[in-house]
Amino acid sequence: MEFETVIGLEIHVELSTDSKMFCSCSAGFGGEPNTKTCPVCLGHPGSLPVPNRRAVNDTILLALALNCDITGCSIFHRKNYFYPDMPKNFQISQYDIPISSGGTLEIDMGEYTRTVGITRVHLEEDTGKSVHVGESGRIHGAEYSLEDFNRAGIPLAEIVSEPDLRTPDEARKFMQLLHSTIRYLEISDCKMEEGSLRCDANISVAVDGSMGTKVEIKNMNSFRAMHRALTYEEQRQRRTIRDGGEVVQETRHWDDARGTTSPLRSKEEAFDYRYFPEPDLVPLEPDEAWVRELREGLPELPGDRVRRFVSEYGLSREIAETLTGERALADYFEDAAGKGQDPVAVAKWIAGDLGALLNDAAVTIQSCPVGTGGLSELVELIDGGVISGKMAKDVLKEAFETGNSPRLIVEEKGLTQIADESELDTLVDEVIEENPGAADDMRDGKEQALKFLMGQVMKKTRGKANPKAASDIIRKRLT
């Protein structure tokens, strides 16, 4: 049997607008229950939703970044369902005429690239948050639920991919690229742990080229969880098929602690959402000037930037990807590389030691105490043979902690020179042993011999021995 895994993703992104999608309540994260609600987001009769211009703007921007076509005239629909996370009993969403469709996102897997189709990007509102009170904390076994509508009505962009992904690795790469793309656009903070970026997956296994049954996976709250869940599910479906069983079409819940998926509901009882056009909202018709302005204002996106970093600076793809993950980090690199030092070395220091220092101290690149000039200086000091790469690690650490320039640190600490006595002792001993004649002359009081011996010590250390300390030791030994 020849297996092929087929994965499609559905991603929800909370837009970081100040106010909600259809009312003026704050769209900020969290807060005490129901402190960010009003008659509109509570669905009171007679209230009227009015769309947030910036949310529409940001969704168009996202759609353009994913190479989608912007729909000339799109409309909102009501998605009807019974679940207490929406007080209206429906969610305002888009259905058959979304704001955009037909895009692509290209992922680079090293040995190959894959162009993943983007079915659509549409705009909807987020739902409220349910806290299930009872033993398990999950729906099953709960005694009752508490509903908080602070999140209800926050603008949500939904991105649907075509089933073009073939491995969990590809799915993870796609999510990472999408994540950094959205961050570049500065339209969402994309925090998976806070739920401002959420991902569901459809996964099936085709056997000998014939399509398999699709299973939906929910509750994947990190890139790692997504990768593990898809790997688990891929194996589960293959095993089921190999054992002669049948994969059931259903929605499964990923349990991160157990590392397994379990059935949530079967498609048999799938919802019938009875979509109909939202009568309280008029159509969206973004004019050409608006769309053109957004298109022209698009920043260079991470995928393009990786390719440029590889061709322009000669970086490896891995380092280029690390540096372009965050727009500010990529900017930092370009600024540092523009100061005349070897860009490959500059990139390695940023992606390596500086990255680790930032990580450990939980500092963002924007407030990094080592400026781009300092980093360039560090590389210059190494290239000029002033300090070794090993010494540079300590210099960078000190620069990070004190904010001093690497050159200043090197000068102040005399780091260019070997001043350590025990190290010099050994060196002097070697020099004396190798030059018995000169040593004898020194013992006879010939000052000329000291100069010769010092020259040998300097030669051995490539000029890095501290002259005063070295000559003191020679005198001590030979007089």
Binding site: N34, T37, V56, P84, I139, S145, L146
Partner: protein, 94 residues
């Protein structure tokens, strides 16, 4: 435009309505009449008329992204029959 008993049962299920056999039959007749009535619209010649989801000739009605004060949790849950610490309390789901 008669609709079947199965359709009535499906719609009743979606609306979370428990209907007796008699009520179902009554609904079947009434819903059929409603559909019959609405169906007359399709007799009108709509050649060259664009699909209309709204009767008002407006597009792009927006508000600016400005936060205004919300109501209090006390006001929000004021009409709820069951509330707890500012949250709406609902019977267990499923």
């Amino acid at each position: 435009m008669a609709i079947s008993m199965e359709e009535v049962e499906h719609v009743a299920k979606l609306a979370r309505l428990a209907l007796s056999g008699e009520e179902k039959e009554a609904m079947r007749c009434q819903l059929s009449d409603v559909l019959e009535h609405a169906h007359r619209v399709s007799e009108v010649d709509t050649e060259g008329v664009l699909p209309t989801s709204h009767v008002v000739p407006l597009v792009n009605v927006f508000r600016e992204d400005v936060v205004r004060p919300s109501i209090t949790p006390f006001e929000a849950t004021g009409n709820a029959s069951w509330a707890e610490e500012g949250a709406f309390r609902v019977p267990r789901i499923l």
